[in-house]
């Protein structure tokens, strides 16, 4: 393969978990939940997949467990935000702390050692390819789902004007709950990819801020599935570029910081007016 092909493949590989997490962010934010706990969902997905693959010897069961665990963490945010009136930002921060601590704790309990797990049965190259392709399929499906189905309309409306949704006889809190559940599952799959497809183990901190890069991708992609996917691809290419530029004298920290700097720039609106859903992050309470 040529160097260029290598670069493209590496970009896709680096982009895949970002796409899943970014799509999770899009669903949640379009429904009105600012999900800053994506990092925690990636972490728990990655850990649960490895732990279950270790326990059962079957990586596919591990994959399903990772997705389910991510969904549960998403649901925790959803329930806290829609049922207990807990602020989404505060809850998200707590969930990230809880997830990182929980995974580190679980690592010691399950594998008897801190830092990193043992190697476990993994999904292999085929599995990795399927999950990478799945990311793009998920993006298209979510695009169609959000813009072409009643579910999508309800979801978008809950993020723009939840009161109107309620007037139409649908409780926007339930719509938001479904969004956090789906989002958590997607982010969980992103985590599974990191631990069971790209590698065959879990190590502390392996998500390395991807949940926050995904939030940046959501803003950059203007809260649309295809836009966020494009942004995640760009950030994946940046990550791949780091390997190319390793010996070029460009500080790797600068390359790593670019997605976050891009997000700050997007907040100033220089990339055109990027508007968040009207009720993004705004709790909905019956009055």
């Amino acid at each position: 393969m040529s160097a260029f092909q290598d670069f493209v493949v590496l970009s896709l590989v680096k982009a895949a978990p970002l796409i899943y997490a970014a799509l999770a962010g899009v669903i949640c934010e379009r429904a009105g939940i600012l999900n800053i706990a994506l990092e925690g969902q990636l972490t728990v997905g990655a850990f649960a997949a490895v732990a279950v693959s270790f326990a059962t010897g079957n990586p596919v069961v591990g994959l399903l467990a990772g997705v389910a665990a991510g969904a549960l963490v998403g649901l925790l945010l959803g329930v806290a935000a829609t049922r207990f009136g807990v602020d989404q930002i505060v809850a998200g921060t707590g969930i990230n702390l809880l997830a990182l601590g929980g995974a580190a704790f679980g690592l010691t309990v399950v594998f008897g050692q801190p830092g990193a797990s043992a190697e476990v049965p993994a999904l292999g190259v085929t599995g990795e390819r399927i999950i990478v392709i799945g990311a793009f399929v998920a993006a298209v499906l979510l695009h169609l789902g959000l813009y072409r189905t009643p579910w999508g309309l309800r979801t978008r409306a809950s993020g723009e004007n939840p009161r109107a949704v309620h007037s139409a006889g649908i409780d926007p809190r339930n719509v938001r709950l479904v969004a956090t559940l789906l989002g958590g599952a997607l982010a969980g799959l992103g985590g599974v990819y990191l631990s069971l497809a790209e590698l065959d183990l879990y190590s502390d901190g392996m998500t390395a801020g991807r949940g926050f890069i995904a939030l940046a991708a959501v803003i950059f992609g203007r809260w649309t599935p295809l836009g966020a996917t494009g942004a995640a691809l760009g950030f994946g290419a940046l990550a791949a570029l780091q390997f190319v530029l390793q010996r070029s004298g460009v500080p790797s920290e600068f390359m790593q910081a670019l997605p976050y700097l891009a997000a700050l720039a997007a907040l100033t609106g220089i990339a055109g007016r990027a508007r968040a859903p009207q009720a993004d992050g705004v709790p909905y309470a019956e009055v």
Binding site: V86, V90, A91, T93, G94, L97, P114, L264, V282
Partner: protein
């Protein structure tokens, strides 16, 4: 208060269940935790060191919250403050009467500058301060790593840290042979000053008005954009000052991993303390016990220390009070007009 006790009880039960899961005896676990935190003069002094390191960012978080701003970036502001103090401190060899104030001010200035970035984005462009501070946390860590290893590498330093500060720049200790320094007194003084600012000054009133009822505040002539900027800058200054006290008082150098997440735990501390500076002192002590007892618990009772982060995260979710919801809703409504 009663509800708080119930939540505390519930969290203790969860912690006990986690210890059982880890194959440890919960009673032994709690005993080791408290022994590690309060079992003697040395342990208590270390707990107070943790209390101090938590108190600065917790006050920072509470200050911004009171003004209706979610400063999730205390961690990054603390790192930048510590970086400023460490980089300057490693190059400054003079009397402590001169160098210590310079380093503390440098830390506060660094934190303020970092907080201001989010403040400007919010005040000038209406950019979401939550996203901004989240991004700035990571940029701070990367920047610190780059500078300390690269251009600002101090001669003789190993790894991602600066050289040791000259002894004259170390904060004076309160007890001999401990790491407990005057930083504790500075943090306590800051808490009392903040309480006074909130309760007794026009500025504090404006901040609270902007946080509690932004629409009313705007109609009353309070400049919300300016308030947001000032609140973020001052909040950053407090967190940065905290970073500087860790560098000058505890580590005596800047290290990229100087904070085990103080800026995030601070959110729990601020909530437990009801955003009241004086109650936050007590909350910081409680969380200081967790931080400082965790290692003893791991060593004596074989409970992985990470159970502490888990319980702290759970505490944040459980304690987030309903009253923020109202303030946040109004604030966002105004921001979107």
């Amino acid at each position: 208060m009663i509800r708080g006790l119930w939540i505390g009880f519930g969290l203790a039960v969860v912690a006990a269940a986690a210890m059982l899961l880890a194959g440890a005896n919960p009673l032994l676990g709690f005993w080791a935790l408290f022994r590690g935190a309060l079992g003697g003069e040395r342990q208590i002094s270390e707990t107070l060191v943790q209390t101090t390191s938590l108190l600065f960012p917790s006050l920072a978080v509470a200050f911004a919250f009171r003004a209706g701003l979610f400063n999730i970036g205390a961690e990054g502001q603390l790192v930048i403050g510590g970086l400023a103090a460490g980089v300057i401190g490693a190059r400054l060899d003079t009397s402590g009467l001169i160098s210590i104030p310079i380093l503390l001010v440098a830390g506060a200035a660094g934190g303020a500058a970092w907080g201001s970035i989010a403040g400007i984005l919010r005040a000038r462009f209406g950019g979401n301060e939550v996203i901004a501070t989240l991004m700035l946390n990571i940029i701070a860590a990367l920047l610190a790593n780059y500078l300390v290893v690269g251009p600002l590498h101090s001669p003789g330093a190993a790894g991602a840290e600066t050289a040791e500060l000259p002894h004259s720049s170390w904060l004076p200790t309160l007890l001999p042979d401990t790491r407990l320094t005057v930083a504790l007194l500075i943090a306590l003084a800051l808490a009392f000053v903040l309480r006074w600012v909130f309760d007794r000054t026009v500025f504090g009133y404006e901040l609270r008005a902007a946080g509690d009822a932004p629409e009313a505040a705007r109609r009353a002539g309070i400049d919300l954009a300016k308030t947001a900027f000032v609140a973020m800058a001052l909040s950053g200054a407090m967190a940065g000052l905290g970073g500087a006290t860790i560098v000058t008082g505890v580590l005596h150098r800047f290290n990229v991993s100087l904070s085990p997440g103080y800026g995030f735990i601070a959110i729990a501390v601020a909530l437990v303390g009801d955003l009241d500076p004086l109650k936050i002192i007590i909350a910081s002590f409680a969380f200081g016990i967790l931080q400082s007892g965790a290692l003893t618990m791991q060593a004596l009772a074989h409970v992985p220390k990470d159970v502490v982060s888990f319980v702290e995260g759970l505490a944040i979710v459980a304690l987030a009070a309903r009253r923020f919801v109202a303030g946040r809703k109004q604030m966002t409504a105004v921001a979107q007009e």
